[in-house]
């Protein structure tokens, strides 16, 4: 059987693509090539908005990502956590952490915290974890008016009314920065936060999968979503901005090679077809 005949079989085409894809993703991870990492305008905006949170400001982080999306959203999420906790150290900011969509977010919050230096910081004074509160949109809506009402206890069972940090934090009037990381639709956050946050000048930043960025553009252009992080690309850029290269930087080479394969596959298949069409137009048309 010739190579041409072998490749003409569908299962062999799939196998070839799978093997190439695997090699092109695995190789850069094992042996980083150091390809350039672009930093997009929205990533810089997101960084600056967090950097500009005033002294003593309240940063709200809603971690609604799931395990399947961790490779895409994790780098940005960890970078934002590191930056937010840097604000706690330097500007005495406070952080409220919660999850509203699936319990994965609560577990991944712990994973993010394990990547942050918490030495010298005190739970309940510098940050609070409200854990997973079922209800999604209802929770996102309620936290704008009555945070302690929607979360009577924190993740560890302590009544929120007894947590010193939350004494003066209960509604949008007390927040200075709203951030969400989501692996589903991002418009939910705009729907529940947009109007009130916009009226009070509180920025909304959403870390999302690249597939949902097109949906986010009307909100971004209208200003209801202040800025956004476009998955691992923005994550690696954010790592660069905070000066802590991590998982995102390691994944960028693999993303480059994988995208190049995608481009090559399309050009090869379409190019081969066009050549065939031009050389034997009638046969192909028939």
């Amino acid at each position: 059987m010739s190579v041409k005949e072998w490749f003409a079989r569908r299962e062999n085409q799939d196998r070839t693509i799978f093997v190439l894809y695997f090699i092109l993703i695995a190789y850069p991870m094992l042996s980083p090539m150091g390809l350039p990492i672009p930093i997009g305008e929205p990533t810089i905006e997101s960084y600056e908005l967090l950097e500009n949170v005033p002294e003593g400001g309240v940063i709200v982080i809603v971690s609604d990502e799931g395990f399947p999306s961790w490779a895409e959203l994790g780098p940005g999420e960890i970078a934002v956590y590191r930056h937010a906790f840097k604000k706690v150290r330097e500007d005495d900011c406070k952080i409220v952490l919660l999850t509203s969509y699936v319990v994965d977010g609560q577990i991944l919050t712990e994973r993010c915290l394990s990547n942050v230096d918490l030495t010298g910081l005190e739970y309940g004074k510098h940050w609070v974890q409200l854990g997973y509160i079922p209800g999604y949109e209802a929770v996102l809506s309620a936290m704008m008016d009555d945070l302690k009402g929607i979360a009577p206890i924190d993740q560890f069972g302590t009544p929120t009314k007894d947590i010193p940090m939350l004494e003066d934090i209960n509604s949008i009037d007390d927040y200075d920065y709203l951030y969400a990381c989501t692996f589903t639709a991002m418009d939910v956050y705009i729907r529940q936060w947009g109007e009130k946050a916009l009226a009070r000048g509180v920025p909304i930043i959403i870390n999302m999968l690249s597939g949902t960025v097109p949906l986010a553009m009307p909100y971004y252009r209208a200003g209801t979503m202040t800025s956004y992080l476009n998955s691992v690309t923005a994550g690696s850029g954010y790592e660069k901005l905070i000066g802590r290269p991590g998982m995102g930087a390691a994944l960028m080479d693999a993303q480059s090679t994988a995208h190049l394969l995608g481009i090559a596959v399309i050009l090869f298949a379409q190019g081969a077809f066009m050549i065939k069409l031009l050389s034997k137009p009638k046969e192909v048309a028939a």
Partner: protein
């Protein structure tokens, strides 16, 4: 108590909370009631999870009892569910192992699988003279080049071109789509509060 099962009662259970939220949105006069209604939604969501667990258990216990098709999978499911549940309360390291080493890795692997298939879809979709598909392929190529981290090494124009596509044709199309969705939602909402829409009642 049969009146409780009347259609009007179910509609009222939907319409009253909705009207509270709606009236408060425009007047600000029912803030406390709205807050209470939303808190109820979160409480109900917790009960919905409990209901889901009961339904899941009931369904799979029935499959096992009847030895229906693929019943051994139901045993695996229930064993996995129960062991995770017990580990969470009785043996934390076991729970952490299940979540971080098993569940998390398996879910990531499952999504990564989609990546492999996307590339074969690229291959299958290409090789066409259909103008609509060719436009789609060109859009895909633009998207791939725009999201390619090393795009500037190939051509510095990919960035501005991608931004233009994202800001102009994409935003325009998405705006139209969102307006359509909003109008549809509004129509559905009006139909529901007027009692014309019954699909949410199981009708």
């Amino acid at each position: 108590m049969s009146w409780l099962r009347r259609r009007e009662v179910c509609i009222a259970l939907y319409v009253i909370p909705v009207l509270i939220i709606l009236i408060n949105h425009f007047t600000g006069q029912l803030a406390a009631a709205q807050s209470e209604v939303i808190l109820w939604a979160s409480t109900l969501a917790t009960f919905a999870i409990l209901l889901g667990v009961i339904n899941l258990s009931q369904h799979h216990i029935t499959i096992i009892a009847r030895k229906s098709k693929r019943w051994p999978y139901s045993i695996i499911l229930l064993a996995a569910f129960l062991s995770t549940f017990i580990f969470n309360y009785a043996y934390k390291p076991g729970y952490d192992f299940v979540i971080t080493r098993l569940l998390s890795s398996l879910q990531m692997a499952l999504l990564a699988y989609v990546g492999f298939y996307s590339y074969t879809v690229f291959f299958r979709a290409s090789g066409t003279k259909n103008p609509h598909v060719i436009v789609l392929l060109i859009s895909m190529l633009l998207g791939l080049f725009y999201n390619l981290p090393m795009r500037d090494m190939i051509w510095t124009g990919w960035g501005p071109l991608g931004v233009w596509v994202k800001d102009v044709p994409n935003t325009g199309g998405m705006n139209a789509l969102l307006i359509g969705v909003a109008l549809g939602t509004l129509t559905l909402f009006l139909r529901t509060i007027l009692g014309y829409e019954e699909s949410y009642l199981g009708g």
